[in-house]
């Protein structure tokens, strides 16, 4: 136990130490040239205390920094009544996530990976302003509380992304992969990137009105973030969630299952405990369209008279990090696959959209399940991709439109960014499409 927590005993009612250390190496190629090598060595600390029944926080770069307990006590003097306790001792699931070979990757290794990937693409297309970046991040996370939680986890992950701007347009095509093991140039991703890039070279305008829309794994945030907004404990506590008191109800298509898959070994982002030191769980959030559970942290669980689901993450829609308050957030979601490949699904579509991104999500009324975005993707006509979308908007309400999921693909892909998700392609029957 860190001496900060030892010292906190007796000085405050309860204390919680969150300490993250990261070593990151990042190599970035732009327009086929090595633009920058970056290497960071960072440490950050959050200390929360409950003092005289009130909650206070402070932050620092090291737990050795002088006066942290006093700073947190001062904050607590002004703070609200704490209606919850910090995490008690617990047994954590085994999640092996530290491959020493990954942790030891140096900038030279990432340069080699990026150049091999770049050269593989250039062997087919040497006319692209190609961007390639490789990253390794080793992370050590400690969460300790005076109530007994003593959680420590080391992980190392590596990632590779490729992208190129579309000629004559401002947008680009991007693909990404990540692993807990060192990567080789990923041929499948390279082939897909080249195929998708080829699809972008023509534009095509879809019909306006209600159309089938196939959501690629990368676009899964469009329907999963509104779902998160309905599931998270804060919205339930305020009763602003449209799915308050709906456990056991069919809220989405019976074809859709969403798993919290946070502890699968070998998965990007897998972890044994959340940012409050509560064990993570593998469980169904949505099972065949039926709402099975919500997402709770210590505070919201207490407010709702329940227990934390191990979903406390220092994350907001547009912010994350040690200085961010823990809120209920997906650790790692997974949507099980269907039976047919997405290419077979596309082949059966007469007039439809394939979306891989949407711009402007946050401007919509997502807490109520809605999104209205500028569609980034492809136009499908007579079973074939006929070009990229331009000036096309797609609007939906997940609690209405995602009642009508027609098909789910047999492939899954990883999506990062807003959420850590492994998702298949999902075909929704009828979504509002507007365009020029």
């Amino acid at each position: 136990m860190h001496r900060l927590i030892e010292n906190a005993k007796g000085a405050v009612d309860q204390a919680e130490l969150y300490w993250k250390r990261t070593h990151t190496v990042d190599v970035s190629y732009q327009n086929n040239q090595l633009q920058e090598i970056a290497e960071d060595d960072l440490s950050s600390v959050a200390l929360r205390v409950i003092h005289q029944g009130k909650l206070g926080s402070t932050f620092a770069v090291s737990p050795e920094q002088d006066g942290l307990i006093d700073q947190a006590k001062t904050a607590a003097a002004y703070g609200d009544r704490a209606s919850f306790s910090f995490a008690p001792a617990a047994d954590f699931p085994q999640v092996e996530a530290l491959n020493p070979q990954t942790a030891e990757l140096r900038s030279e290794d990432l340069v080699e990976l990026c150049e091999a990937t770049r050269d593989a693409i250039r062997a087919s297309r040497d006319d692209l302003a190609l961007g390639v970046s490789g990253q390794m991040q080793k992370q050590t996370l400690t969460v300790e509380t005076t109530e007994g939680a003593n959680a420590y986890h080391e992980s190392a992950e590596t990632a590779l992304s490729i992208g190129a701007p579309i000629k004559g347009a401002g947008i680009g095509v991007y693909r990404w992969t990540g692993s807990v093991s060192p990567l080789s140039p990923p041929q499948t991703m390279i082939d897909e990137f080249l195929e998708w890039y080829g699809w972008t070279e023509k534009t095509s305008t879809p019909a306006t009105g209600k159309l089938p829309v196939l959501f690629a794994p990368d676009a899964s945030f469009l329907y999963l973030l509104p779902l998160w907004a309905g599931l998270e404990g804060g919205a339930l506590e305020k009763r602003t969630s449209p799915i308050t008191d709906r456990l056991g109800d069919q809220i989405l298509s019976e074809k859709l299952t969403v798993m919290e898959d946070s502890i699968s070994p070998g998965s990007i982002g897998a972890r044994p405990f959340d940012d409050e030191g509560v064990p993570c769980q593998r469980r169904a959030i949505i099972e065949n369209g039926v709402l099975r559970t919500y997402l709770l942290d210590q505070r919201t669980a207490s407010a709702l008279g329940q227990t934390s689901t191990g979903n406390a993450v220092k994350r907001e829609l547009f912010g994350e990090g040690t200085e961010t308050k823990p809120t209920p957030w997906p650790i790692r979601w997974m949507i099980p696959t269907g039976t047919r490949s997405y290419r077979d699904i596309v082949a059966d579509l007469d007039e439809a959209l394939l979306l891989y991104y949407g711009m402007g999500f946050h401007s919509g009324n997502y807490p109520q399940g809605q999104f209205s975005i500028q569609a980034i993707g492809f136009h499908i006509r007579s079973g074939e991709v006929v070009g990229r979308l331009e000036n096309t908007m797609v609007s939906a309400n997940i609690y209405e439109d995602f009642q009508h999921v027609r098909e789910i693909s047999s492939e899954q892909g990883n999506a990062l960014g807003f959420l850590n998700v492994r998702a298949p392609y999902i075909l929704v029957d009828s979504v509002q499409v507007a365009g020029l």
């Binding site: 633009q35 090291s62 904050a75 703070g79 711009m359 402007g360 807490p367 975005i373 980034i376 020029l436």
Partner: protein, 455 residues
Amino acid sequence: MKEKLAGIVGGLSADYVDLRYEENRKTRISYKGDQLVEVATYETSGGHVRAYNKGGKAVASFSDPARASGMAGAVAASAAIAGGRRDKPLRLADAPVITDSFPIRCEHDLRSVSFKEKLDLATHYNQMILAAAEIATAETDYDEFVSHRIFVNSEGATIEYEIVLANILGFIVSKRGSVMQRVRFAFGGDADFSRISGRDDDLKKRIAYAQQLLDAQPAKAGLFPVILDPSESGVFIHEAFGHLSEADGLQNNPAFREKLQLGARLGRPILNVYDDPSLPEHPGTYVVDDEGVLGVRTELITQGVLSGRLHSRETAAEFGEPLSGNMRAVGEIYTPVVRMSNIGIDAGEDEFDDMVASIEDGYYLVGAKGGQTSGDQFTFGAQWGYKIEGGRLGPMVRDINMSGELFSTLQAISMVGNQTEGSERGGCGKAGQSNRLSGKDTPPIKIDKVTIGGV
């Protein structure tokens, strides 16, 4: 500390090295509904080092100042490795060497205000919202950032400067039956606490809009002429055009760079756009950037023609264009990137009533609700709007998103209002850095046609 840092960069064998060290004090007070969920005042520190060596570039961030010297040496070596892999060496434009201090001073400096007074003010605003009819909940935050920065480089620059600003901001959620609507508010945006206090009347207006939205109908999807209020026109010019004026985004995109040559006609002669870090009482105001370059006003579009660009020393050298002083980092762990300070559209000659009268069937969009851009594609929302029918403002509408392609939309700006209005809150996302210090000062504008996406 200054001398120690100067000694580190001076002792390295590299073409250029700079080091920025920050001590940052943050205060956050956060209400969710009637719960005070966070009260925190704290300090963090750390540094960032950049090196250009043999035509390559490397950077590093560190938390422990004891690591500064070691990491600076490693960065210089990595830059040389990077240079060996490039066909075309990176270089920096010459910049004046500054040795000066730029402290921030103002009459009602928020640093002289007690924590209790800040908490009481946030509590007062939050209670005002929650006491109103048909209000389901609210979030009210006091967000204060005080940064003391030291910048040194191997050319001899030694600069001490400050960033000081605070906002009270949040959103109001109204609810009737199954209809729920959100309206944002934000006060402040610089070091002057008097810009945050005494804003009850402004908050009452925002509460009233949230209540009125419960009776509004969703906007219809389609192609319409629109008038953007100053808040919306600010987000439009920031998101759709401003990011394309940041040279680091164009640097490695040959097709786009070709399209955005200085002298290209982008709009009608009524359109004049600038970036200005010297505008008083705006969130994006500063003297010196995080690359040790003085910030200057840059004319970006003059009478409809592309006339300038925002630069780092690296991009200024590559483009052969003047320095603008727009390299900025939001905190100690970040490398600076090129970004807007305060972007503005010069006031035009049109009266608002004439703008409305010119539209037969369209919308007046009010209140920025965030936006996003990818190259020449943009999209952003409005907090509410009004239908315009037969040249008159009609009923209030909600759930509005608009999108389009930059170049055709700039050409479609056909009227520019005769009064500008500044923003009080930044909030620009780029390269993983959310920037509070980003301002706007714009009039209402009329766009002849954009795509409106309704739900």
